[in-house]
Structure formats: C-alpha cells, structure tokens
Symmetry: C2
DNA sequence: AAAATCAGTATTGGATACAATTATGATATC
DNA sequence: GATATCATAATTGTATCCAATACTGATTTT
C-alpha cells in the first residue's frame, strides 16, 4: 500500500449521509433522529453527531440546541445568495488558474463530464459537477479561496436537488460545461469567464422556475 | 426571564477557546491536546471535540485525522484570499442593506466603536469589529450571505491577531470605521462602499507589512 | 371551552470506559 | 554509524451509560 490515509468513521458516514440526503431519502424539514440514523448506519451516536456537525457546516442539515437536526428548508433567498456569491468568487478562481492549466487538468475535467453523461444518482452528479469545476480552479493554487467556493457548491447541491434541476437539465448543463472547457483549452480567458458566469446564471434561473 | 435559550457546553467553551487562541495563549503550529484542554476548561473531552470541530469550521484550528488539532500556520496567500473575498462580498452586503438602515442600526454600530475605544483584548476587539460590520450589513436581510461573510471575518481575525495589526493600528481602524459609518448615515452609498473597500485594503496592507 | 400546569416519555448533550491509531525509543541489522 | 524493527506509551476515535432538556397529553383552573 502506497498511501494509507486512515479515514475516521465520522468522515465515512458523513459521505453516506450526504448521499442519502442528496438522493432524496430525507425531505426538507424532516428531522434526523440520532439513534435511528446511527443504528441504520451501524455506528454509535458519537461519530454520528460529528458527522451531523460536519454536514451542518455545509448547510445540508440544521442543528438546533437540544432539539436535534433536520433537513433545512431551502428558500429562494438562500439560493439567490449562494449563486450570487459563486458568481463573484468562481470567476476569480478561474482567472487565477488561467495560464497554469495543464493537459492533465483538462483531462480530469473531461473525465468528470464523461462520467456524468449517463449518471442518474443526484449525489454522484453533485460530486462530478464539483470535480469538473475544481479541475478548472485548482491550478490557481489558492486553497483558501477554493475551500470557500467548495462550501458554496455543497450548499448549492442540496438546493439544486430539491429543485430537481440537477437531474432535470443534464444535457443543458453538459453543453455549458463542454463550452466552458473548450474556452479554457483555447486559452481564451474572457470567453471562459463569460461561459462560466452564464452557466451559473442559467443554473440559478432554471432552479427558480422549478422544473419539478 | 424573557428569552431563555439554553446554551450547550460545547458552544460555551467554543467561545472560551476562541478567546484563548485570539489572545495569544496558543501559537501557530502549536498542538491542542484534548485531555489537557478539557480539564483546563473543566469539561469532558466529548464537548471539547465538538468545540474544536466548530473552531475548525472558522479556520481557527486545523484537525487532522487521528493526529489531533493545532493552531494553523497562517501564510500570506491565505490572508490575501480572505481579504480578496471580503472585498467582493462585503460591498454587496452593504449595498443590499442600504435604504433599510434604521437609527437603531447606526446606534448599534456606534456602540461597538465606542466599546472598542479603550479595549485591549484581541478577542474582544475581534468581536466588536464584527459587531460593527454586522450592524451595517444586517438590514440587507440576507442571512446566507452574512453567514459566509462572518466566517471569513472569523478566519481573518486569527490572521490579524498573529500579525498584531488588530492591536497595533486601533486608531487608524477606528477612523476608517467612523468615516464609513458617517457615509452610511449620510445615505451616500457609493461613498460608503468606497470607504469600506479602502478600509479592507488598508487592513490587509498593514497586515502584510507586519507591524509585529 | 380555552389556557395553564404538571406528570411521564422521548431525545439530545455529556461523562466515562474502551478500542484503534500514532508517536517514541530502544534494540537489532546491515 | 545509519536504518529498520518491534514493543511501549501517548493520544485520538468510538461505544456505552447517565444527565439534562424538550416534547406530549391529560388534568386542572379560570
């Protein structure tokens, strides 16, 4: 074994619960009981609580005092804020990455797009969506900026799933992604940023219409 | 008692530890041992771990798999990202709040400035600093946006303390704050945004010079 | 009848004991 | 002498038990 990074149980079930949420097992407003969830996942309540706290950071659950955790109710104001912030921060990341992209970066981005082609599972689609964007932003070498952007993306994911837009407009999203990637490969920075901005605007717009 | 919101122990000691960190009890790179900290604060390790996780969200500590928590090493790249993001997001919040400010909002902001006048404790100065900015942004009624901005402010706080700029330039910062507040009271949006942006730029600049 | 009160129950937060992982240092090996 | 290996200790993560809080529904009170 080359790299054996031990993963803690809490981290592992965090991803499991994230998938459960994004795949629609739980609905907005629904409470998450610790005992039920922990025995369902086969762990004790201790790591579960850590997992819930992690998910709360990303806005996928809400934790209230002694009252427990629940899936948050997403409203238009929240999604508007999320996309407006992404619209400010992601172009900065893309611009910072420009000139540092390697063939490998583009290949990673393309792999994510290919993998998303036939995918149905919302949780997996969200992962691949981030993989694509991350591949284009990572060469900026600005981990703090990327970290915030990733948080916003994770929070957006729940909103997108609820609006069912992530599964309802896969071909549109794919086309936008391909166009963005092509602009990056061409080395046309302004075109790429324009494509990215338009992509975010369209995603937000289609969410509000609620293709559900 | 009008409002009796029960606070969990974890939340309480989160603030205590935050103060310890910002007041320089721990230094960058220094590890935080769970048993030592928990007995020092008079609680068990269970709520302490929750507190550490909360602080990790705000970037005040780093938690690494089975290896423990430590105060992160702040570098120039990180502070640059933090301030560049704030420079994009905070003007948006201020503009959104414009036209919704009440006398009470301005009073709150002024109280924070007055309280900061003779204050020495870095942790308290950070709190008051945020109270001031929050008072001016809150009328925007955009909790999601404000939440992200607050996170960035908390992360900046550690960087500022380490650079000692938060205690080294109190009079400069105070003057900038007063100017910003006056522009808001005058209802001059562009002036206010300009003052805010300049304030952030100066804070960042003085940090890099390292008045330490 | 509506509202307040007060059991009892359900659920979360915290303390303690235990298991898993990592760090340390001495010994062996080349 | 440097490096590898193994046992030991130090530290973190997890399970379980207990305490504190919130919820529920019936009863009382106005």
């Amino acid at each position: 074994m080359i790299s054996d990074t031990k993963k803690t149980q809490a981290q592992a079930i965090t991803e499991e619960i994230r998938a459960l949420i994004l795949n629609g097992t739980f609905h907005p407003g629904e409470p998450l009981r610790q005992e039920a969830l922990s025995e369902q996942l086969g762990v004790s309540r201790t790591p579960l609580r850590h997992a819930l706290q992690s998910l709360a950071e990303d806005g996928l659950v809400e934790m209230i005092g002694f009252k427990g955790a629940r899936i948050p109710l997403i409203d238009q104001a929240m999604t508007r804020d999320l996309f407006e912030m992404r619209l400010l921060l992601e172009p900065l990341a893309l611009r910072s990455a420009f000139g540092h992209h390697t063939k490998l970066d583009f290949a990673k981005a393309e792999m994510a797009l290919d993998a998303a082609e036939g995918e149905q599972k919302p949780s997996r689609l969200s992962e691949l969506n981030w993989e694509f964007h991350h591949a284009l932003y990572a060469p900026s070498n600005r981990p703090t900026l990327l970290n915030t952007i990733q948080q916003l993306n994770k929070a957006s994911a729940l909103a997108e799933v609820i609006a069912t837009s992530i599964v309802a407009r896969p071909e549109k999203s794919a086309a936008e992604h391909r166009g963005l990637l092509q602009a990056c490969r061409n080395g046309n920075e302004d075109d790429a940023v324009a494509a990215l901005s338009e992509h975010l605007r369209l995603a937000h717009h289609d969410m509000q219409n609620g293709t559900k």
